[in-house]
């Protein structure tokens, strides 16, 4: 293959984003997800499905901000819980019941976005260490507010309006809504990653000062990602609330929430599109199983341990590590990167080893 052809193919690949194999894989997965409730309609199975998809959406949304920008947020529960409470409060105060409640869902996305703006403006001005701490602090503030304000129902929390659906098929609409949220979040993540906006985010992650020196409006970029992430998380929080039919301060603003999400994204591969999906699909059903079948505390120990194992064994996440492994298998024996173009007669004469990318 000539140099030109190879370049064109690479360019096409980048533009298209999905080569044959990948595209096929996505379609298959989507098809599987769509027929899952038909294949196994038992409420137990679809319950797993709903939760798994909820967390796929949340992990992807979290990754859109934290994975791409490198600013680890431990406060996304703020959006999740706020979305839940927004739905509960509006349904209660505007006397909306039944299916009409679904129409209120977008409000939770808006709530998430609105909260993200001041939150981000304050938090994104500081170093990464301090950013994480601020997100933790804001999280606790919100949990405290949920406990202490009367309109949030105090420690009793809120109940969702009743849905007069049969028990056998109750889960299914929620399943498909959660699926829609998940697909939406993943698609958004994918679009962002391919876009100039995503490029700027990732440049910020690598070297923020250099990036802003080159004209990237760091604050604007970070804040936009934060708002998008917050909006999606808020929306999903509302879906979760409606499904569960209740929310209280410790469940809506759960300290374990963010660590679970971080673990999902991290295990799968921070900053990749499919990583958080994989991570969520692995961890969430596991957590659900443990909570149902053991007393709650073992799951804490396991969650923490799993995280440590992941950090020590697959520090870059499953998808990147797996991808590299596959690449190594398929390129064994020849240079993975073509020799430098001979356009300049005095091209660098140093050998061109493909060094292991720095972690």
């Amino acid at each position: 293959m000539s140099e030109d052809q190879r370049t064109s193919l690479t360019v096409l690949r980048r533009l298209g984003g999905l080569t044959g194999l990948r595209l096929a894989g996505v379609v298959v997965l989507l098809a599987l997800a769509l027929v899952f409730p038909v294949v196994d309609p038992s409420p137990v199975a679809t319950n797993y499905g709903v939760y798994a998809l909820i967390f796929v959406a949340v992990a992807s949304a979290w990754n859109i901000f934290s994975g791409f920008s490198g600013y680890i947020s431990l406060g996304h529960a703020v959006f999740f819980g706020s979305g839940a409470y927004t739905l509960g409060i509006t349904a209660r105060d505007w006397h909306v019941t039944g299916i009409g409640v679904f129409a209120l869902l977008p409000l939770s996305a808006v709530a998430g976005a609105l909260i993200a703006v001041p939150f981000g403006l304050i938090a994104l001005r500081v170093r990464r260490h301090t950013f994480i701490v601020i997100t933790i602090a804001v999280f606790f503030i919100f949990q405290l507010m949920a406990y202490n304000f009367s309109f949030t129902g105090g420690s009793a929390g809120l109940d969702a309006p009743f849905l007069p659906w049969g028990a056998q098929t109750y889960n299914n609409p929620f399943y498909y809504i959660a699926l829609a949220c998940a697909v939406g979040a993943i698609t958004l993540a994918w679009l962002i990653r391919r876009s100039r906006f995503g490029l700027q985010l990732r440049a910020i992650r690598d070297d923020e000062d250099r990036a802003s020196g080159l004209g990237v409006h760091a604050m604007r970029v970070k804040l936009t990602a934060f708002v998008l992430s917050g909006a999606i998380t808020g929306l999903v929080g509302a879906v979760w609330f409606f499904y569960l039919t209740q929310v209280q301060p410790p469940s809506g603003f759960d300290p374990l929430f963010d660590l679970s999400v971080v673990l999902m994204a991290f295990l799968g591969g921070l900053g990749t599109v499919s990583g958080p999906v994989l991570g969520a699909l692995i961890i969430e059903p596991g957590q659900l199983y443990l909570t149902a079948n053991t007393n709650g505390y073992i799951s804490e120990i396991l969650l923490g341990s799993l995280f440590l194992v992941a950090v020590l064994l697959v520090p870059r996440g499953i998808i990147p590590t797996g991808g590299e492994y596959i690449r190594r298998l398929t390129t064994r024996g020849r240079a993975a990167i073509p020799a430098a173009a001979s356009a300049a007669p005095q091209a660098p004469t140093e050998p061109a080893p493909v060094r292991e990318a720095q972690r």
Binding site: A137, I301, L308
Partner: protein, 292 residues
């Protein structure tokens, strides 16, 4: 009313001393290892449980028990650092160590739940419930002893840092890790020992905390949020700053508690956010560099 305010201030100072103990360890760990040790909160609780067991089963006096719990926590700290923190490398090291310490905290919390259950505990001794009556103020003995202990330990830390060879290594590492390596300082050893010290100090803090508060394994969250606020306010890495910030914040909370008990804790978060907006390096913060 004035009486209440003065009492609140006195309470705040005394309690602040105790929090200083825990905060100083946390900021020291940050200064040397460049990590925010989220596990510090649960370490305090662990220390409290250890003291509790010693007192309940072996009837060892709380303060004497420290002779056992402090070295024990030191060892635990060194092991954790060696096993989970040292192996972390690479660009994302800062965030990773924070998450790792969060994971460790979670594991310890789970273990504590399994071992001790979710009921409230509180440490007890004759001096816990009695106080001395001075100038019309009530000064609980436990707080006085705790404050004295805090002063003693912080003084000991200062001596360690400024008068010993090891302390010089620690300070050198805090300033410039590469340079310290170049002059032959064993960074790994310094890191492990510092982490151990930071955690060991919390054993003492844990004992006093456990004597003055009812605690469960869940109490770690509340603690760590306060400690984080304190060390950021005081400036990451500054021991003097941690001291000042502890006393200041606890006094502030104590005052707010007079009017709005439910919201008193918010002063921590609100102050934190405010300071970070106005002066991102805290009161005495040294690392003013914005990048990464």
């Amino acid at each position: 009313m004035a009486r209440e305010i003065y009492q609140a201030i006195v309470d705040g100072i005394l309690v602040g001393g105790v929090y200083a103990l825990m905060a100083v360890g946390l900021t020291l760990i940050f200064g040397v290892l460049d990590i925010i040790n989220i596990a510090q909160g649960i370490m305090v609780i662990l220390g409290a449980y250890l003291s509790y067991e010693l007192a309940a089963r072996l009837h060892i006096d709380l303060f004497l028990g420290l002779l056992i719990t402090v070295p024990a926590m030191f060892v635990i700290g060194v092991v954790i650092e060696w096993a989970f923190i040292r192996p972390l490398r690479g660009r994302e090291r800062v965030s990773m160590t924070l998450l790792v310490s969060y994971a460790v905290a979670l594991i310890i919390e789970g273990i504590l739940y399994e071992a001790f259950g979710a009921d409230d505990r509180q440490l007890n001794a004759s001096y816990v419930t009695s106080s001395v009556h001075v100038f019309g103020f009530y000064l609980p003995y436990i707080y006085l002893y705790g404050f004295a202990l805090a002063l003693a330990l912080v003084a000991a830390l200062y001596v360690l840092l400024y008068r010993t060879k090891f302390g010089r290594s620690v300070r050198a590492t805090m300033q410039d890790e590469t340079a310290a390596r170049l002059v032959g300082i064993n960074i790994s050893r310094v890191a492990a020992i510092t982490y151990g010290i930071g955690v060991a100090v919390t054993a003492a803090g844990g004992m006093v905390y456990g004597a003055t508060n009812a605690f469960t394994p869940n109490s770690g969250y509340d603690l760590i949020s306060r400690l984080l606020a304190i060390i950021i306010l005081g400036g990451l890495g500054s021991i003097g700053g941690a001291l000042v910030a502890s006393v200041f914040m606890l006094t502030l909370e104590s005052l707010v508690d007079i009017w709005q008990p439910n919201w008193a804790i918010v002063v921590f978060y609100a102050a934190l956010v405010l300071v970070l907006v106005i002066r991102p390096t805290g009161f005495f913060g040294r690392k003013a560099v914005r990048a990464q």
